[in-house]
């Protein structure tokens, strides 16, 4: 496949760019609250809610239905009046004190309230002391009333209320309208306080996960996004309480603020989905393309276009759910329908639920208009592959580019594909090719963004919908307008809590090594923090000590040994009877020989054995300088030839049995500085037994000593190496000085071995003066054996290195 082939379907690009996004299902408004339900209790393991809001200019705030962690129930022994105390968790983090007019049980402003941060609120202790009063209705209050906890970094509420005999509302849910949520460091003004900026919430959540270092957050891009949402009134007033994947939540929710959560050069950013001015307002003036791509840029087969299908382009009515929040009453859910003039009067409808966080009609209308305008105007997406160019170092995600291509299908039929696009994806390969995923960026004749124009001019009707409530008599008198704060009352004498050690286990840091030497690393020899034990722990701890013995594999067959070799080092000699037997009855043994320096092997004998018989191979003189291999096979009825896979055993190289012979001589070639000449020595009498011969190595002839090393020429092992027949030396440099010798023949009782000097009166050897770099000189040959001193009975290339000197 060419490296310029596309590997991803283009529809992925359309989905990624969200040219058209359609909700997969409709559901009830997520921001709705059931007022008259029973009081809920906390269950361990469920998320602690985060109340994030800030009411400014009569917009914002959120109604919270806090869950209870503790309760106390008692009644009057005469009137049976029930006193209910509840400890409630309002939010993670610290909230400013809530106002008296903002606390409810059911829809009624009743009860006595207290608030605390990082502590238990109120001064009562949990428990059930309710008794049955004669003639009155018995109370059926919970007996498991809670034990209290540390409430670390939480805002808590204490609620106390009394209920007359038989009052059925004693166990109803309490609610709190929070005008100002948890306090964070606001990115715009760098002040710690409540915030309604979605970017502040994003930064808070990312920081709380402890999963992304701050260096992976693009602070500049985040500040721009925060200014964009703040300037255009896209504000977050809601509760984060349903357990969810953070990345998915950020991606989905950011769309409700006309932001896009993505990565740029590896850093997390939020980016406006519309062009913006320097003052962060939506840009409704002419757009200038950053770069124009023409036929000169497009690579072969580098143009793919995908038009938005019909079902996603049909005019639709966008229904947006949001919250209307009056200042003195519980908020209501509103819907606003957004459609283009005269279109989709009876549907189809697409619903976008912003009620969890949107408390502004204008916010809802602009988001609805954004979806409607994209659906109406964006017609296609594009993927082009272009050669690198000047744009390579400047083009970024979100930039606007122009693609202008001529489509010539006939001499007279000439058209131009000429559109603006938003860059959704950039892929730069090391081949140089750049792949761009582009989404159609519709403009008017003044080059103004059509989507931006429609969103910028979108504004809500401004109508305040009646809540439907006219009777506030269940409120305690004066509460509806009481904007004073409830009491800040941390419990001065909270229940004694168990030691936190009872609820956790801290794994002791293991000692992996006693070595405390710091580990340094890299080109700067940087010291790795954490100590050697910590680093070894990360790198897989320590390597095992001692050996590990694997069990025998009962299936795997091992090759049977070859016995009968009688030579030095356990090597076979000519005349030896080598024996082997398969590990199974009725097996087969095939004998091969292979040149000792490698190469193809050839078969020399095959025995189909009966029972537990042994196969014997007699080594001949023709086997000298070969290794012998025995392939043993066991019967296998599933094999065509009746035997299974072979297992192979190999001997060392076969040597000449010099005890069989009375004479030996060397024959070979001497390669001297003057050239190569053949030479054969006289027969040497070895009939005394235990005799050996050798060819000496390199000698220094000035001192007449054998050389183990020399700066002028390479030196084979000094030895004497019994039965060495060939030696070589290669000059390392060119130097006219020096006097060397190599390769003289000596023979001896092998228990009194010596090297004969080639410096004076050499036979097989020779001497020379000076070195020439790269020149190789040698005495290379073989041994010939004879019984009678005239007829050659066996030939042997001899041994080659020091280890073979007996």
């Amino acid at each position: 496949m060419s490296e310029f082939e596309f590997t991803e379907p283009l529809f992925v690009s359309r989905a990624q760019s969200e040219a058209i996004s359609t909700p997969l299902q409709d559901d009830a408004a997520a921001g709705a609250t059931s007022l008259d339900s029973d009081q809920q209790a906390v269950v361990l393991g469920e998320p602690i809610p985060i109340v994030f809001c800030r009411r400014i200019d009569s917009i914002g705030g959120v109604l919270v239905s806090p869950k209870a962690t503790e309760a106390a129930y008692s009644n009057n022994g005469v009137t049976n009046q029930l006193t209910v105390n509840l400890e409630l968790v309002l939010s993670e983090g610290e909230l400013p004190l809530v106002q008296v007019r903002d606390v409810f049980q059911r829809a009624c402003r009743v009860g006595t309230w207290a608030q605390a941060y990082d502590a238990r609120a109120g001064t009562w202790n949990p428990g059930n002391t309710v008794t049955v009063v004669a003639g009155k209705t018995p109370w059926n209050c919970p007996y498991y009333c809670g034990t209290s906890g540390s409430y670390d970094n939480m805002t808590t509420l204490s609620y106390t209320n009394t209920h007359a005999d038989a009052d059925e509302t004693w166990n109803k849910q309490v609610h709190v309208f929070v005008r100002n949520g948890i306090q964070v460091t606001r990115i715009i003004d760098n002040v710690v306080g409540s915030s309604n900026n979605f970017v502040d919430l994003v930064l808070y959540l990312i920081a709380q996960t402890n999963r992304v270092p701050s260096t992976l957050i693009d602070s500049a891009a985040m500040l721009t996004a925060a200014q964009f949402t703040n300037t255009n009134g896209f504000l977050f007033n809601g509760i984060v309480q349903a357990s969810t994947n953070l990345e998915e939540w950020l991606y989905n929710t950011s769309a409700g603020f006309l932001l896009r959560f993505c990565d740029r050069a590896g850093k997390k950013i939020l980016k406006a989905r519309l062009p913006i001015n320097n003052d962060y307002t939506i840009k409704t003036t002419a757009i200038t393309a950053e770069y124009k791509f023409t036929e000169n840029d497009i690579l072969p087969n580098g143009f793919e276009i995908d038009y938005v299908p019909l079902e996603q382009r049909l005019p639709a009515c966008i229904v947006v759910l949001w919250r209307q929040q009056p200042d003195d009453d519980i908020g209501i859910i509103r819907t606003t329908e957004v459609r283009f003039t005269g279109e989709a009067l009876t549907g189809p409808y697409e619903q976008y639920d912003l009620s969890e966080y949107c408390a502004s009609e204008n916010h809802a209308v602009k988001v609805g208009t954004y979806y409607a305008a994209r659906r109406k105007y964006i017609t296609h997406s594009l993927r082009i592959q272009v050669r690198p160019g000047a744009f390579n170092s400047t083009l970024e995600l979100g930039d606007i580019v122009r693609v202008q291509l001529a489509r010539e299908t006939d001499v007279t039929d000439y058209a131009i594909h000429d559109f603006y696009y938003e860059v959704d994806r950039i892929s730069k390969a090391t081949s140089g090719a750049v792949t761009l995923d582009l989404t159609h960026f519709p403009i008017d004749e003044q080059n103004r963004s059509l989507v931006a124009l429609k969103v910028a001019e979108a504004v809500g009707a401004g109508y305040t919908m009646a809540t439907g409530r006219t009777d506030f008599s269940c409120d305690i008198a004066g509460r509806r307008t009481d904007s004073s704060s409830i009491a800040n009352t941390p419990d001065p004498d909270p229940p004694i809590l168990p030691d936190p050690d009872n609820f956790e286990y801290t794994v002791p840091t293991p000692t992996i090594t006693s070595d405390t030497t710091p580990i340094t690393f890299g080109p700067d020899n940087a010291t790795i923090p954490g100590g050697r034990n910590a680093v070894l722990g990360l790198a897989g701890a320590s390597s095992p000590s001692g050996d590990t013995t694997n069990p025998e594999d009962p299936i795997e067959e091992t090759a049977p040994a070859i016995t009968g070799a009688t030579g030095d080092f356990g090597r076979p000699l000519n005349g030896d009877d080598l024996e082997t037997a398969p590990t199974c009855p009725n097996g087969q043994v095939t004998w091969y020989k292979r040149p000792k320096d490698g190469g193809e092997r050839s078969q020399v004998q095959q025995d189909n054995l009966v029972g537990s018989a042994t196969s014997t191979y007699t080594v001949g003189t023709e086997d000298i300088d070969y290794t012998i291999e025995a392939d043993s096979r066991c019967p296998d009825p599933s094999s065509p030839d009746g035997y299974g896979s072979p297992v192979t055993q190999t001997t060392g190289p076969v040597e000449a049995n010099y005890n069989f012979y009375n004479y030996v001589r060397w024959t070979g070639t001497k390669t001297t500085p003057s050239g190569a000449t053949a030479y054969t020595s006289a027969w040497l009498n070895i009939s005394a037994g235990n005799m050996a011969a050798t060819i000496s190595g390199v000698w220094g002839c000035v001192g007449n000593v054998p050389l183990a090393v020399n700066e002028g020429t390479t030196c084979p092992a000094v030895g004497p190496v019994n039965w060495r027949a060939s030696v070589y030396t290669t000059n390392k440099n060119t130097n006219p000085t020096g006097l060397y010798g190599i390769g003289d023949l000596s023979y001896y009782d092998k228990f009194a071995a010596f090297n004969s000097s080639p410096c004076s009166s050499p036979t097989t050897g020779f001497s020379w003066a000076g070195t020439v770099e790269g020149r190789t000189l040698s005495v290379a040959g073989k041994w010939e054996f004879s019984v009678d001193g005239s007829t050659v009975a066996a030939e042997w290339e001899g041994r080659t290195d020091q280890s073979e000197g007996e």
Binding site: Q16, S17, E18, A41, V42, V43, L44, G45, E46, P47, I48, A68, T69, E70, E87, E92, P142, G146, G149, S150, D152, L205, T209, R211, V212, P213, T215, L216, V240, S243, T244, N245, L246, E247, Y251, C262, D263, A265, G266, K267, P388, N392, S393, L397, D424, K428, A429, G432, D437, F503, E504, F521, G522, P523, D524, I528, G530, V535, L538, A539
Partner: protein, 153 residues
């Protein structure tokens, strides 16, 4: 006439401390760039890709030398960061190492989030610890230490 070439630089670091600096263009050379030395290491990279969706990840391949294995094993365990930058320049204009006219055309930055491969090569993925699956928000849940044994209704 130009001969467009691209050189790639890789830096593994934490805070102000560089634990590894490699370049893959100048074969068998240690070069000085940005006032620092960069050793040759024959790593390769996938395309630099930036998109409108989160979770784009970047992968590079390195020979599984002891140095590379240690670098990325520690990086994975100690949350070191890795930065890869690609520069473009005209090789006909100059042969100095590095080219004085080189221009940064792509960069990526991330934590080492995955290391896998064979015994001879490693594939290293850069990204963030923000997992694409799994519950992460809200980050805290009710525990016994926080609220004790809660009320049971």
């Amino acid at each position: 006439m130009t001969n467009r070439s691209q050189s790639v630089y890789l830096r593994v670091f934490s805070g102000a401390t560089d634990f590894q600096r490699w370049q893959s263009y100048y074969v068998n050379q240690t070069i000085t760039f940005d006032s620092k030395t960069w050793n040759y290491h024959p790593f390769t990279i996938d395309a630099f890709t930036g998109g409108s969706t989160p979770g784009e990840r970047f992968t590079l391949q390195v020979p599984a030398t002891n140095e590379a294995v240690e670098t990325f094993t520690y990086a994975l365990g100690l949350n070191w960061l890795c930065e890869v930058k690609m520069y473009e320049f005209n090789t006909l204009a100059t042969q100095t190492a590095p080219s004085a006219s080189q221009v940064l055309i792509a960069s990526v930055f991330g934590e080492v989030v995955e290391v896998r491969g064979g015994f001879t090569s490693l594939s290293v993925t850069l990204g963030s610890g923000l997992a694409p699956v799994g519950a992460q928000a809200p980050p805290r849940t009710y525990t016994t230490a926080l609220v004790g044994t809660p009320l049971r209704i």
